[in-house]
Subunit: 202 residues, 3 copies
């Protein structure tokens, strides 16, 4: 990563935060595979979450110290917080699967994982383009499309787990995990909305 001078350091920091989030989503994808050794993946994701906290603190500290910022301070806080929130959901989803000792997620979960993977890629690719507001429209249109796709998948999953195939306790566990995954997808959309608002102001 090229080190920037002046206020452009913020673009690098957001790019690093989004790449770190993408790493986190990759670990979650592994964990959602049917034969995954989930407990072994928990410390890997924990490390990624700590790295994410470092990025967020670095960004907030620079803003608080009065550094010149490329866009409004509040938007910087919101964007950093938005990326952080998605990573928190990603970690919470894996934690809950381990905590609940879930053996297997419904196969339909693969479609949600796929959406998370693509949203993480799109977000990581969009951050460096904040500098020039280049092709950001395509990014947030695609994220919104993905969120709609995930919403359909989420509803099919809900209908499936409540269909009678699972006992009530398992339904409760699966629904808790699926809700966090859905929240992670929504979180990517919120990040895209913040980016949109930043780009529109520029």
């Amino acid at each position: 990563m090229r080190l920037s001078s002046g206020d452009s350091i913020f673009y690098d920091l957001f790019t690093a935060a989004a790449l770190n989030l993408r790493d986190g989503v990759r670990v979650l994808s592994e964990a959602l595979a049917p034969d995954a050794d989930r407990a072994a993946l928990v410390p890997r994701l924990k490390d990624i979450e700590h790295a994410g906290d470092e990025h967020t603190h670095d960004i907030v500290r620079r803003v608080n110290s009065g550094a010149k910022t490329p866009f409004h301070r509040d938007d910087i806080y919101r964007l950093a917080g938005g990326i952080d929130d998605v990573l928190d959901d990603v970690e919470a989803a894996l934690d809950l699967m381990v905590l609940y000792r879930i053996k297997e997620m419904p196969t339909g979960i693969a479609a949600v994982v796929d959406v998370l993977d693509r949203a993480a890629d799109l977000t990581a690719e969009a951050m460096p383009r904040l500098r020039t507001a280049n092709e950001l429209t395509k990014y947030w249109i695609e994220i919104n499309r993905l969120e709609n796709e995930a919403d359909q998948t989420y509803r099919r999953l809900l209908a499936h787990i409540f269909s009678g195939e699972y006992d009530a306790l398992t339904v409760h566990k699966l629904k808790d995990v699926i809700e966090i995954l859905e929240s992670a997808v929504d979180g990517f959309e919120r990040v895209a909305n913040i980016v949109e608002q930043i780009a529109l102001k520029q």
Copy 2:
């Protein structure tokens, strides 16, 4: 609806959005009747939700394009978003009943439906009065009273569905729907709070 010139177009747009929300609540009321053909009502509510999105986008577009506004831009966004949120809950409640294949809601649900109907009427009647801040106090006192009433009903419903009459899976389904209805009532209260703040500033 009389077409307004200048900034007073916003009163008409909010009135149209609130009337549209009232239409949505009416469809939900039909859907909550014991013998309703819910699947047939889904597309009707979907159309109303699309009309609501149009109203919201129209309002936001006018504000973003720099149009003169009768009250603070942030309050316009919040009021439009607040009405939109209630309609989202209304649609989500019907969707979930269909998705979960719920045959019958507990009879106590009629009281919640009644509150939603009255809150929708009061909100639709209040919007044109934003122009003169006329009798708005009565509107938000009554909405707050309705929200308290709904809260009592919500708690009675919770106690009822957890009393042992229903199996755990049905309890989970019913609770999810009842929570969305409660959220819709809270949404009407949030709209009333935004209107109150707008009126107090005038």
Copy 3:
């Protein structure tokens, strides 16, 4: 309580609100004891909640009436609202235990109650120190530590209630109560964050 003149009345009002919240947490602690007569504690907590509403309204009324404030008006609203939110959770937790006719909470609940007790003490002790920003750092570091501790306890409790010992309906009831207690702990952390931001601006 010494009555203050000018803007320093706000320190007294926040101290009174935090002491009242501490009273509420004490009643909840009693209610979570295995042999508690919970129904008898409901009206006591209701009275405390009404007293809390009075404090909040008094604070908001003074700000709205244009009184000189010792820190930014928005921060005063947020701090008052933050304290109010915790008390709402405290009351909701007791209400739900009575409503669900929960006989006994898992023994692990004692650790959560302990965290709530200590967080309430720390918050009540911190409010008078807002005046001088004295030793507030210790307060919010300790609250954050408590929140992390409660988070671990919360997860152990979740793992326990989903372990198979309880039937699905009981799991649903217990989880609802535990989630509100966890939300109350988070609420204390939000209050500490608001206090931190106020102190940093001073």
